[in-house]
């Protein structure tokens, strides 16, 4: 019991400390520290895709790989929001999404990868974390259900609001923008 108390106290202390590490990042709407490179970012909330599209618009040099379980994203909407469709490669992975996404991240061809698949196994998340670090790309997980074992996730955001007026709640942040 005493150790449980100690652990609870330590968590409170840690949360109060600034334990974020500096990391290179891309600019992102509504985020002072941006989106870290080489990390997993989890997006939740009813406006997560609108925010992500705005993020792509603010970084026009980034190519993106957009993977879904079934085709639902509307490319016309992306174009209307200022995204050049030449930058986006769409994919529908009904199964074997984990090895396929691993290949995509490992290839180092796409600096941004977004997936609407739900990954909850810790080994998968660890694997993604290592691969994104090595390739210096950012992997966005935007599933309906949030992950429960989230320690490999570097940034967790809950996004609501409308286009250009987002309400962003940072649920977890491991990295801050580097000063260099």
């Amino acid at each position: 019991m005493a150790s449980a108390e100690q652990i609870r106290h330590l968590k409170l202390v840690i949360n109060a400390m600034d334990v974020t590490q500096p990391r290179e990042s891309w600019q992102a709407p509504g985020l002072q520290d941006g989106v870290p490179k080489g990390a997993i970012i989890e997006l939740q909330g009813p406006s997560r895709f609108e925010w992500f599209i705005t993020f792509l618009k603010e970084n026009p040099s980034l190519n993106c790989f957009w993977a879904e379980k079934s085709q639902s994203v509307l490319p016309t909407a992306l174009h209307q929001r200022g995204i050049d469709l030449n930058r986006i490669t769409f994919a529908v992975f009904k199964e074997k999404e984990f090895p396929s996404l691993r290949k995509v991240i490992q290839s180092q061809i796409f600096p941004v990868v977004i997936s609407t698949h739900h990954f909850n196994e810790i080994k998968m998340l660890q694997s993604f974390q290592l691969l994104t670090e090595k390739s210096n790309s950012s992997f966005f997980m935007a599933a309906e259900k949030p992950v429960t074992q989230n320690w490999p996730v570097a940034l967790q955001l809950d996004i609501s609001g409308k286009l250009n007026h987002f309400n962003i709640e940072i649920l977890k942040q491991r990295y801050r923008k580097t000063n260099e």
């Binding site: 909330g45 009813p46 406006s47 997560r48 895709f49 609108e50 599209i53 639902s72 994203v73 509307l74 490319p75 016309t76 909407a77 992306l78 174009h79 209307q80 929001r81 469709l85 030449n86 986006i88 490669t89 769409f90 994919a91 529908v92 992975f93 009904k94 074997k96 090895p99 396929s100 290949k103 995509v104 290839s107 061809i109 609501s160 609001g161 409308k162 286009l163």
Partner: protein, 443 residues
Amino acid sequence: MSNSEYKNLNVACLWLQKPGPTEKLAELCLRFSPQIAVRKNEAVFVEIGKMRLLYSPEEFVKIFQQLLNPWLKRIEVNARLGLGRDLTDSLARAHFGTANIDSLSLDALYDFADPFNNDPVIRPYLQKMITAFKDLGVHKISQFKNIPANQLVSRFGAVAMLSRQRLEHSVPLTWPYWKPAEIIKEKTDFPYFEFYGELEPVLFELKKQLDQIFQRLWIRERRAQKMRVRIFFETNSRQVRPFREFQFEFLLPQAYTKGALAIIKERLSKDFTDHPVTTPLQGIETVVIETTAGVSGQKNFFHRHEEVAEAKYALLAQLQEIHGDGSVYHAELVEDHRPEKSWKKCSSIKNLPPQLHFPLRPTHLFTPEPVVIKNSFFAYQGQQFKIIRKSSIERINGAWFEDPSDLNDSYDRDYFSLELEDGRTLFIFRNRKGHYFLQGAFA
């Protein structure tokens, strides 16, 4: 045909009565003469003037027909053989099936002026000339030949003179160079039956073959667009087919082993898993079926765009092998107000996007599902949500031939978006019958 007549026959022309594989036909004719010319998909010319000492005229025709008739029958193409003094003469005889050139209509001049059908500049002039002659009552070659040459030139210029000279065989025609297409192929035989259906040894051998192939392609400044891999097995009662064949058509022409091998590996591993190999391997053969022009010289020191593009398309091709055709794609916009038809899949975007003149579309689109909207409430799948805001209506009207009750293709819809109390914004349409459907979400 007498020997004296035969002495004047220097070219044989085989005319196909419907488009056919003239390159393959030309290769078969190489046994008669090394001097071959091809009119793409239509005719093959063989120089026979120098082989008179080997074959008499009857022997030549007999052997020619014996060799080619079974092959033509197999590909279901009829052909006609014509022997003439030169290319144009033999072509006219084979094309029109007559030895009497003078009796042919003026349309035969196309074969004399442009025997290989590859001169787009001369064709319109020929057409004008032939039309003018027909209006003047000149319909036959014999009548054309009777017109004095100086009158031809003054009225119809160089085209008429060329046609006349070719008819009279007074101007030699340069024989175009033809050689059979080079086949780049690598084959490895396993005489001692070392491998019993494992994939890794196959990939190991394939890599060696691909290294050789890409080296040869690099020297020739070519890239592989299509390849074929055959894996040969020992046959028995369970393994009836002697080989398995895999055809690969690459999204982007490949210049390196790494990309091509990754794509081939995906297909083979899927095939070996679905249909395990139970008999020893006897050999592997890799053939390049189609190539495209490649870049020669050293790599660019300042960037790696080409290599990155090739690696990207190799990755996409691999993913397509795993998930099926059409699973990985780019999107190209189409000018259509219906949201589901406003874009299409493509492998690469070629056209500029059209100007879009409709309101903002939702980020996600679904198959339309019926919903109920009543008294500021939105009901869907047994749940009710309060509507906070409703946007203005966008009305799209359909084509007269479309059935408004056909949900998939109907064009008559009133679109609007609904903002719900839980923060979601949905994309709804109402059809002409007044029913509401949920089609998308601004997520």
